[in-house]
Symmetry: C2
Subunit: 220 residues, 2 copies
DNA sequence: TATTTAACTTTGACTATTCAAAATAGCCTG
DNA sequence: CAGGCTATTTTGAATAGTCAAAGTTAAATA
């Protein structure tokens, strides 16, 4: 029913609402979708007429329950497809995001259920992003980052937020894929630097910005 | 580059040109795409402007070499996807056509190559339809049908043309999937009936129309 | 050859999605 | 409180694809 365009608007709305109260500024949505603001205003009014979003003029947009349901479906397809591409087709984890952007609109429920079973009902995708359940439940997943966690404790990388191929390649090269054990050796707030120790290899220096994109949990 | 719509026009043109001189009547294309004739005229003029087809007003359309290349790519994606869905995801061979209609527009070359390798570079899809090669070579595959082959010879089903779920389910139930050994026991042209013997099961009666959709080759 | 007809093309209109540029609303500053 | 700045909305226009209905063509029929 929903076009690819509509699905993308809703999915980005879901992603942009993470954390906040759900009210997404029109400009943020325009930026995420790479369209001009006027386009978003037009489209959001149409989505609101369809009951998928609530539009607060000059303040922002918010998903309705119906819209959130659609968005969770798209996100589930996206993340299961990414998992399939990495686990079964052995693709580079930095390349799968672009592929999934197209495939997420072309997968039926039947195919999705079979992929899910083939993969063993994974809870997270290759980047550690949680996969919404069939029932539309999405793990809130509140984790510390390498920029905010307590120092000198054994940690485990659980997720890499940010899907640009450049950053993902960097993370892979730096041994910071989900599952890796790490420890924050020190932070220099003034210089904006975090030093990380990994099982193998010398200490690694990261900017706070980069460190903030690596989510971690206490090891074991 | 080519939109899904354009890809569909070109793919159907390739399919409809099978056998004939390649000149497809506008009405045939309209029927295949389920649009009104005027829509086809409009679209074909655009495709001709883009060098993908040659339009002979009031006579028909024909693919150019460029258009044929695009069409072969779409057909390759369609048939490899069908093969994947049946072999890996264990889907019903009658259901995969509809799925492939959407997925054929969303698969990249990289993913396609990996699927092809995973499946062992198949030459035909689950229905026996030949899969174009990466280089754009398509097996002409001239086979007899159960309606036209010589009688009383050991045969092997090689292909089921016609992708409606109804017919495919019927073929499966009747033990007429590609690979099955069969023999034409007799024909009654007046009644329009063909009688077929299979390894197991009693003789099967088919209409000539149905028999014409089952392609066969000499066994062994 | 005149007529009928079926296939095809043209025309006018509509939906979905987008952009450029102008108008506006709020908020912040002095 | 007057200006000014920024985010947002409005307006006008464009593109892709489609349909309904009217107009044309050319082959088939009489
Ligand atoms: Mn992704
Ligand atoms: Mn991901
Ligand atoms: Mn098919
Ligand atoms: Mn097929």
């Amino acid at each position: 029913m929903a076009s690819s365009t509509v699905e993308n608007y809703l999915k980005h709305l879901l992603l942009l609402a993470e954390g906040g109260d759900g009210l997404v500024p029109m400009g943020a949505l325009a930026g995420a979708l790479a369209v001009v603001p006027g386009t978003v205003t037009t489209m959001v009014k149409a989505l609101a007429a369809g009951g998928l979003v609530e539009h607060r003029p000059r303040q922002g947009v918010r998903l309705t329950d119906a819209g959130r349901g659609v968005a969770l479906g798209v996100l589930r397809r996206h993340r299961l497809v990414e998992t399939f591409l990495v686990q079964v087709l052995k693709m580079d984890w930095a390349a799968v995001h672009a592929e999934a952007e197209r495939l997420e609109h072309a997968i039926s429920d039947d195919v999705l259920d079979r992929l899910d079973a083939l993969l063993g009902h994974p809870a997270v995708d290759p980047h550690g992003d949680p996969i919404p359940t069939r029932q539309g439940r999405l793990d809130p997943s509140v984790y510390a980052t390498l920029a905010t966690c307590v120092a000198d404790r054994p940690l485990r990388v659980v997720r890499v937020t940010e899907q640009s191929p450049e950053f993902l390649h960097f993370a892979e090269h730096s041994g910071l894929r989900p599952g890796t054990r790490v420890r924050v050796a020190g932070r220099n707030l003034a210089a904006g630097l975090v030093t990380v120790k990994r099982p193998a290899g010398r200490p690694l220096a990261l900017s706070l910005a980069a460190a903030g994109k690596i989510l971690v949990a206490p090891a074991r």
